[in-house]
Each structure stands twice: as C-alpha cells, then as structure tokens.
C-alpha cells in the first residue's frame, strides 16, 4: 500500500456567512423603515402643531379636533380623513416594527452576538450615538405610549383615560376637557413627558438615518446641517408637546 496522494487544496473551504439568504432584502427593509419613519415624523410634527392649539383655548382646540373628523365632508365621510390617517399609520407602524425586528435580528447575528465581547465606541457616548444605539428601546417606548395615548384620549378606555372622559360626537368634540382631565393626573403627564423624550431621541437619529437610507449621499458639511435639522425637529416636537402637560400641571391651562 502506498501512502495517500498528497492533498489537493479543496476548492470550497468552509465559508462563514454572517448575513441572511432571505428574499426580503435588508435594503428593502431599510427603505420601508425610512419611509414609514418619515411618515411618523411628519405626523408627529403636524400633530404637535395641532396640539399647540390648546393654548388658544377650549373652543379652538375642540373645533380643531372636530374639524379633523368633519374635514372634507361630504367628499369624505365622517371621520374619513381620520380613518385614512389611521389606516396609513397602522399599516406603517406594523411595517416599521416588523422591519425593525428583522433588521435588529440580522444585525445581532452579523455582529456575532455573545461571540463578540464588548467593543468600545470610538466616539464615546455622545447624545447622537446614544440615540442611535437606543432606537429599539425608544421605539418600544413609543409603541407602548401610542397604545396608552389612544386608550387615553381617543377611545377613553380606563384606566388609561381620565374618569370624566367624553367621546367625540358628530356635533362636537370634548378633546380639550379630556386632555386637561388626563394631564391633571401627574402620572399620566409623566408618561407623556417620558415618551416625548424617547420621541426626541428616536427622531434625532431617525431623521438623519432615513436620509442616508433613502440613498441620498450626504457629504460631511451636509451631514452637519442634517444633524442640526434633526436636532431642531426633535427638540421642537418634543418640547412643543411637553409644554402641554407641564402647562396643565402648573395650572396654566385648566
């Protein structure tokens, strides 16, 4: 018996693939995240502006809430606009969350999970880095908040809603008193304030991120501008909203 022939290099060495083989690409997921995220961003910005009407007094705020329901009547049925919005938002939120979870699990796998001991970030833990790294957390906070918020001010379901909740009717809306009743409870206000901080963080990273994800090449100068705009929007939306529970708690609005 002669010795076995010398080894010929095996053409296919074992290959580790850290990515995924699903037909649903991460690029598509990111486009969906970016588009739905921007829809939310636009929504919270507009919604915040609407919310500020609370400072114009009960009539203005209630009639704004009423208008929301009667807008474009009779072209749209009662609550038509609202339902369009609700459907868009609901679909978006589901897509946003599903994509977020898919991406996060892919990211974890690619990073190496437990195999990869901690890495220190070169940039330390600045605000924007923190915002980026906590997207999933702030996102979940936002999800829980929205559920609470709808139970509180739209459906009036206890215990989220204040005791004297009055549902909107075809003729009028009681948004103002519902809001004041709700925010008069300090825990509820606290929930709102915390949620707004989460929102600010989420927007801070989300707005910058979505621009890159839409494939827009941002140079280093433009990046600074973009980051500043994101910070501005995040602060405006969060602070604008936060003033309301603060105003209620301090008795500025009643």
């Amino acid at each position: 018996m002669s010795a076995p022939a010398p080894a010929r290099p095996s053409g296919s060495a074992p290959v580790t693939r850290a990515g995924h083989r699903s037909r649903f690409s991460s690029v598509a997921a990111k486009y969906i995240m970016a588009i739905t995220g921007l829809i939310f961003s636009a929504y919270v910005l507009v919604h915040m502006i609407g919310n500020l009407k609370v400072y114009q007094g009960p009539e203005a705020f209630n009639s704004y809430a009423h208008w929301l329901r009667n807008a474009f009547y009779p072209v749209l049925p009662y609550e038509g606009l609202l339902w369009i919005l609700r459907v868009v938002l609901l679909v978006s939120v589901i897509a946003h969350i599903v994509c977020a979870l898919i991406l996060k699990s892919r990211a974890r796998r690619a990073r190496g999970g437990a195999r990869a001991p901690s890495i220190r970030r070169r940039r330390g833990l600045g605000l924007s880095v923190f915002a980026g790294r906590s997207m999933l957390v702030t996102g979940v906070v936002l999800l829980l908040f929205v559920i609470f918020h709808i139970l509180d001010l739209t459906t009036g379901t206890s215990p989220a809603a204040p005791d004297g909740f009055q549902a909107a009717t075809h003729e009028s809306s009681y948004a103002y008193s519902n809001l004041v009743d709700s925010f008069s409870r300090w825990p509820a206000s606290l929930i709102y304030i915390v949620a707004m901080l989460a929102l600010a963080l989420h927007l801070l990273h989300g707005l910058v991120s979505s621009v890159y994800d839409l494939g827009i090449g941002v140079g280093s100068k433009a990046r600074n501008i973009l980051a500043a705009v994101a910070l501005l929007v995040a602060l405006v939306v969060a602070l604008g909203n936060i003033t309301i529970p603060v105003a209620v708690l301090t008795g500025l609005i009643s």
Partner: protein, 250 residues
C-alpha cells in the same frame, strides 16, 4: 516604557479564546504596534512559548493586511490610522493595552489576532469589477473624464480593504466598504455599462455575508482610508436604482 498587554489568545475558530496578560519592559515611544508585537513575540520565542499570531504586511498603511482591535477600537486609538501606523506615543508609560481580533461574525478567528476576511472578497467577486477583457479597452485619452469626477472616484477608491469598518460596526455591516466600491465604479464612465448588474450582485452578496446598516457612523470613524460616511448611502441608492431598472444592466 513598560507596558502590560492583554492579548486575545485563541488556538482556532473551534476553540474558545481568552485574554492573556504579558509585560514588555523595554517598549519605546517610536515603536509601532506591530513592532511592539514583534518585540513581545521574540520574548515569547525565547521563553519557548507560542508567539502571538497577527496579520501585518506593508507596515505603511496601504495593504490593509493589519487589523486588530486595540482597547476596543479597531486599529487603535489614533483616528483614521491603520494599526501598523499607530505608535506607542499614544500610550503612557505603564499603560495597560488590550489587543483582540477584529470582531464580527463574518470574520472567523483563524488564530489569536488573525481573522479570515474572505467574505469581503466574495462580495467583490459578485460583481465589484468592470468587465473588460485584456486588450479590448478603448484609448483612455479618448474617454474624457472631468478632473472632479476622477478625484471623486479616488476619494472612494482609496479603501484599503482592511475590514475595520465591519469590525467597528455594531451591526457587522460592510456598508462603508461595499458603498466605497459601488460609488467608485458608479462615478466613472467605465463602470456605467454594468452599473445595475454590479449593484445587484454586490448588494446581494453583501447581504449574505454581512449585517444591515443602521447609520451608526462608527465605520467612518475608524476607516484608515478616510472613506466618507456618505459611501454607505450608495448601497441603498445603487440597489434601489437597479431594482427600478429591473431588466437593464446599466
């Protein structure tokens, strides 16, 4: 200077690794990190121990062979500087330095500080080239390329293929590397005829090999070639462009 170095020792991908502490008494400020490892290794050889395996070649920052994680940062504390051009000047006497391999699922540890980065080449082989056979090229002077365009392509083609971006990325994403490749070739007219084809091939392969990007920006912070962060957007842009022009190669 005297340094204590915690080095990741791992016999192979199948076995577990751990940090082992060593001291070097006669380190000097002008030593580069590979030279420090050379010093330590000669000490180990003399003591009859297994020297530390680590990758390095040109030692001037261009080949992309070197790459270890130093104190948690791919390549080390100096920003935008490959490991081979990091010097002990950045550390103080008596410092504690921690050295470990580039960490990423796509980079299995071969031994100690050496990782297998072949995933990056598989991405290139999936379309990261211009399909022109030897001898068939047109006269390069007839193809006019504006100064700015050539310079812009160079900004992105400067990538040395070290993989630090992937090791720095909390998602194990290769977007900076992949994006620099796509931008380089999409910028030049030479790369246009198969721009869509290339994007499809490269992005699909990058998805198989690496993680998704969450725009954390860590990659560009460590990149020794100074590839701008805007490179990452090219991945989505080129992929979307190719998807929209589904039946076309360009």
């Amino acid at each position: 200077m005297k340094l204590t170095i915690d080095v990741w020792r791992q016999a192979s991908d199948e076995t577990d690794g751990r940090f082992v502490s060593y001291t070097v008494d006669d380190a000097a400020a002008e030593m580069s990190l590979p030279e420090l490892l050379d010093r330590l290794n000669s000490q180990l050889v003399e003591e009859g121990e297994d020297p530390i395996a680590f990758d390095t070649d040109c030692r001037e920052g261009i080949c992309g062979t070197c790459g270890i994680t130093v104190d948690g940062i791919p390549h080390g504390p100096e920003p935008h500087t490959p490991m081979c051009r990091q010097h002990l000047r950045s550390f103080s006497d008596g410092a504690h330095i921690r050295m470990e391999p580039f960490r990423s699922s796509a980079f299995p540890v071969v031994r100690d500080l050496v990782v297998d980065r072949s995933a990056m080449d598989r991405v290139v082989a999936s379309g990261g080239f211009v399909s022109v056979d030897a001898g068939t090229a047109p006269d390069a002077d007839t193809r006019q390329i504006p100064f700015d365009m050539a310079e812009r392509a160079l900004d992105f083609s400067a990538c040395i293929g070290c993989g630090a971006c992937i090791a720095a990325c909390p998602n194990g994403s290769s977007h900076l590397f992949t994006g620099s490749l796509l931008t380089h070739l999409a910028t030049l007219p030479q790369g246009k005829p198969e721009r869509g084809r290339r994007a499809r091939g490269v992005v699909e392969s990058a998805e198989e090999e690496f993680g998704p990007c969450s725009v954390y920006g860590e990659c560009a912070e460590v990149c020794p070639a100074g590839i701008p962060l805007s490179a990452i957007s090219a991945v989505n842009r080129e992929a979307a462009r190719a998807a929209v022009r589904r039946n076309r190669d360009d």
